[in-house]
Symmetry: D2
Subunit: 452 residues, 4 copies
């Protein structure tokens, strides 16, 4: 490695850097018993990295700062993030000057305003990114920031800068789609196990059951800088028809079919893995590319649907049953839904059938008519798929009788359908007019007296 500084550097810096060198060695060797750097030192190092001196020391200095941040104590990291908010924003003098030029109608002034008002931390982040492992450090900073953000709104501009840079760096054009299968390296597979957020993968047998059979697929986006880190992945089942329940799909003992016997591809789980990339959206691109990949490989597969959870349904229904929403459930429905208060209702077939029948119109109302204060569809999963241009295809009561499924939606699951020829029209209806595109059966399930 380069020795990054000359002998006559200021004392404080010498100290910092001697420490750093030692820590560098220590970090590389896996030890953690090193003196830790405090936030002001980190900020000082950041200033050096932004200076002309930083240009020359280049990668070595960026590397030092990254390691020092990674090794710093939690409170010092947070203090450093606050310093980023307070001291590494736009240069006020430069911004003012640029604003004056605009005000005076100077030629090209408007074009120059953007560069002149760039927060200094954006350049800092770009320089940190030059070091090996820099991207990971920045993702870690963002995670630290997200932890603190709810309590510290002053960090919001720093957060915005992260989102801006990450959206540019993790541009869809830089991502590559890879299939995850049983020949994928174990260090990647264990991340699939860890990050699966929808239907927990209990162990390696469960994982294999989702990857190895001929009627199962999994695809992920990767970024070249993070070759062992799937950024987002989707699990797909190839089936003969649109499934109404999750348990049969995950059954370890089920009989697989041949891929060429399938007519339908079911996206039954989609999970993001990098919390540091929150706000940088990949799901839309992933689903659409997987549809294209599957169409090319299996032309006879014509139907692309999800089997999705309804995470907001039970909470909303609770408020409806308590009449807290100003809207009311028709009496027979309300009556039928009292069965939900009997623990274990889902195990009694008659009761379950009756409740299932009552959940359907309630769910139709939940999706088609209920809205939050900002006028939005209530369900976050619905917002994602409808925003992508999918259509709400079918309501499946008793679709997920796991404890989690019962808790969040009384077992309700739904299918969203991606019909390529309608995606853009659906998206526009939803995005511009808030219109939920749904199949006829879903529409007809809406009780006449409940159209809001």
């Amino acid at each position: 490695m380069f020795r990054p500084f000359r002998p006559d550097r200021p004392a404080f810096l010498a100290e910092i850097l001697d420490t750093l060198t030692e820590r560098g060695r220590a970090l590389l060797g896996g030890r953690t018993d090193v003196p830790l750097m405090a936030a002001p030192d980190l900020a000082q190092l950041a200033e050096v990295l932004l200076s002309r001196r930083g240009e020359a020391a280049g990668v070595a200095l960026a590397d030092s700062l990254g390691r020092a941040y990674a090794a710093a104590a939690r409170d010092q990291r947070l203090a450093f993030l606050i310093l980023l908010a307070e001291k590494f924003g736009p240069d006020p003098a430069r911004a003012t000057e640029a604003m004056n030029a605009v005000t005076h109608g100077q030629a090209g002034a408007l074009d120059a305003l953007h560069a002149a008002s760039e927060p200094r931390r954006q350049e800092l982040f770009r320089r940190i990114n030059q070091a090996p492992g820099g991207t990971q450090i920045l993702l870690q900073m963002r995670v630290d920031l997200l932890d603190a953000l709810p309590e510290m709104p002053l960090l919001r501009p720093v957060n915005d800068d992260f989102v801006h840079l990450f959206a540019s760096w993790f541009n869809r054009g830089f991502l590559s789609l890879r299939q995850i299968d049983w020949a994928t390296p174990a260090n990647i597979l264990e991340k699939i196990i860890r990050y699966e957020a929808v239907h927990e993968i209990r162990n390696w047998d469960d994982l294999r059951n989702r990857l190895q059979p001929p009627d199962r697929r999994c695809y992920a986006f990767f970024h070249p800088q993070l070759p062992d880190e799937p950024l987002i992945f989707v699990e797909v089942a190839l089936t003969t028809g649109t499934p109404a329940a999750i348990a049969p799909l995950l059954d370890l003992a089920r009989q697989p079919i041949g891929a060429h016997e399938a007519a339908t591809a079911v996206f039954y789980s989609i999970s993001n893995t990098q919390r540091g990339l929150a706000g940088v959206s990949f799901g839309n691109f992933l689903i659409k590319q997987v549809v294209e990949v599957l169409r090319a490989e299996l032309p006879q597969v014509q139907v692309f649907v999800t089997l999705s959870p309804v995470p907001g349904f039970a909470r909303w229904l609770e408020t409806m049953r308590r009449d807290e929403t100003g809207q009311s459930l028709p009496a027979p429905l309300r009556e039928a839904l009292t069965g939900l208060d009997v623990p274990g209702w889902e195990k009694d077939p008659d009761r379950a059938t009756a409740i299932g029948a009552a959940l359907v119109p309630a769910a139709a109302f939940y999706f088609l008519s209920a809205r939050d204060r900002r006028g939005r569809v209530l369900d976050p999963v619905a917002r994602f798929h409808l925003g992508n241009g999918a259509r709400l295809e079918r309501l499946n009561p008793l679709g997920d009788l796991s404890p989690n499924g019962l808790r969040q939606s009384h077992g309700l699951m739904v299918n969203y359908r991606y019909a390529l020829e309608d995606i853009e029209r659906n998206h526009e209806a939803f995005a511009e007019r808030g219109e939920v595109v749904a199949s006829d059966p879903v529409r007809r399930a809406l009780p006449a007296q409940m159209t809001s």
Copy 2:
């Protein structure tokens, strides 16, 4: 592919896109006999891509715009670039509002100014980049723009946006170093032949002679999005001492030495390949990483030098000899240099020796004392290496007696030395005080009466 638009789109767009589809097909098939799109249509397409509709159509629309640009006639491309300058800058209303907020001292207003004043074309470029091949299209746009820029200063802001985005996307952290050798794919090797800018590679035998012998190396940076395109490459000779002339290094008949017999690594050629990336600097990083790679592989190699051309020397010397600079050459020197006016002087050993001896003090002056109007060192290659922290090590008259070498520098070549422990100090001396760090022999070559 997605059908990107709904049926009721405006007629002109339908037309554009029908054309596009056809062109798409045609482009894929390699034909060019298709109706071409004019600049206003391209701009319209760009507007759609930036709209909400563009979000949904996503990659497909970006792809269409990219292909349409690539297929457009030269004048229409240029007209489109002008539209980018005129219509896709910052939104003035949004910028004004943000400026007002700053002026009124609104909390967070300064932080918001940057985003509010972003030229719309930056987001446009990011979206074009989402399509397969998008990066290549953007690089092509930049090349087109650079062709026109000298005549059309109004394109400068567009150029700035390109540089800004490319610097972020081609961040050193995203580049990977690869060795180029005789087992490298031919489609990459032919680019090495094509892009070598310093000492032309005449044919495949010449190329092999620079790659295959045990005492030759070549390294390049690659970006994951352009896997077959070396962005910059450096050619290295492993030698026993610091060479004073280029011809022996390139001699097809020379006897190679074993890599482990070498004491010196000579960077004898460094070439950028992507004109579209002009202004995004890789050379500094490349040289330093190659030094690290070689030190790890061949610890006995202790000296890292260049053998570099001096492209500005002959032109400068001409002005000196004409007394146009206000400085004058000592009379004996001036006298000795009249020999340069005798064609073929380099083939007469006595004459060549005499002239060589006279060129050395002149060159010392050229590097150490002569400056341009902005106070800068005259030689662009010197500015590059000195700016990287290298030291001017040795002046080699008669180092390159090729027609090109004679034309640009009367055969003079120089060595710059990269001594890792001095790089930062050298860089700072040069960058902050304009000081040229040179070896003692070079300093001593400066005629006493010529210190400026």
Copy 3:
């Protein structure tokens, strides 16, 4: 695929092949409900494959035979193997002729004898191997044959032909060494779990604990034709000293050390995976190449030892204690060893210490002096390592207190040491004079009154 036969082929063959085609399709689709081929049909197909017609139909026919064998019922496979023994040996007429030529002293006759007496099944096996997957089919045939061999000595020549061909095809020059680590594909790792024969790998966490820590390694030989099948693998622990017990090495909670802190490499498990390759020996080559790899990577590692089980010890000791061998244990030893009859002795520290002390001289006798009827060292693991040129380094009572360890060797483990400079001398001493090379402590442990 080629249609391998012409329309006017004999009826029986048409039938066989129609069936085959159907089965082919079925096999590819994963179904097994197909009419099965009987042994005489398989033999008929083999005759065709050996005929001139077989030359032309080539790969397709070989493929058909392979699939038909794989799909055949167990008894028909066995019947086919018997036909291979009876009908596909050397051609008696050709062999006799060649023998006559030798007898008459014909020039070159001796050289020709070998080819003339080649069993026809060798060519058959070579032709089967031309088909994709042919190698796997042949390995399966061998497994089937090994199952039957003890009962059917007439299969021995077929077995010999397999060994001969496999030894040639799986020549060490065709094998490649690959490290198995946590980035290895899961479909290979699950084979490591399945085939570990010495210390069972209980689950994926156990596996990771043997692959991922910086002081653990695993290496395997692969054949290009079986890229997902490790043929043999060895698990290695990097330690500071020679370990005396297995449990601490496998402990999930242990603290790893850095690879560069290690002084010793411990081969604690070596397992073959392909029963079909029984008799083709890789272990010797594997250990020696891993030693070379580790020496290159970690020059400070100077000691290469095993930590090995002693599978024959308990059984032998039982016979000794019953005085069945004609040799007798010294009385104090015999007395001390009665403790072995107390269940759970290993959990009582005093008792365990006493028994351990008594096991050492018994073990020294077992290795150094006891021999089987053919005069061989009794322990198969000892024969392997001593035959490779290793030295018996240390006896470790209480080295493996798992149920299996107690059962086979009352917990005894041993270290064999591979000292490269002695390997050849050790090998020769063992191979030519049956001499067991052992360290001084092991020699001294041998009770004076027990030298046989």
Copy 4:
């Protein structure tokens, strides 16, 4: 590396091996100024490698022998090959004993005869093959042997052993097909240039013209042990119809078509590269697999033909014209062919047309009726393709007007057609009945008075 021998080895061996070690080092360093080993020493080393000691020293000793052979002088290599023939054949005692057992009707004796009569050099070759680079050494030995064989028939048994082992090791199941294109490493491409045996590749532009256009393909077989050595390769042109001449296919200025516009695949050149593998046939397998690959990728390609030279035609025609064959050409034909004696006839259109018309019936006779003493078709290329089951499709006079084409066949080229559904029938007709399957036009071209 292992030190392969113990200190008390016999003096001569110590000397040999000391030398070897030095040479080993020297070879690795690329020098050749080392003492060379004589044939008896090589043979002694071979004996050691075959001994029990060889087992232990294993790879290291095999490596030494390989290097010593590679470094030996030409005459010593040849002397060593003679020693292989004389001293490393079957063990006469062992063979005699096995023969006696057969004669006495001993059970299993016939099965044992093969192993007992194996030439000792087969095991020697297998052991040499264990060393890195062993395969290459053996291929070199074979080349040396082939050079000497015509003069030294006593080497034939050694040659047979090579063929036997190579046929087993280079079994089609172990080969992999790879496409050669413009992204193939240059070190492989230069071998394509060097080994092209049919239509010389003049330079890298000529090569690119055969690889890069969308209507050109090249495929080769590789063996895992020789990853940079194509064993055999075929060049393919995708065309709309069956071509009658080679020049348009190789024209650097021609306009390519899209691969999906092609209806015909033309195998216009097939070349073996490894002289050491002479007698181990790959061509049949290569053509058939390439047909399968192309059918899968380009289903609209329905016709697979060659455009082949006729290397024996001019020589045969000469003898016919001299009436040396006992058969005679019909007078008008003979008359027309006198035009061949006019140098430059091919440049005179009228003359060329007339001669072309006369060459066709002569060629029909050459292929369909003329036979050599052993009753075989005269043309070696015809024997290859007809033996593979192809059909003689068309005679193309004036197909190759290059000097070489004129010399060997007066410009005649032919197409052989591979129609998969007929391959086996054609092969059988040719192999069993010597019948040349030809198209109707070819048959009709045979002059009535010349049916032999």
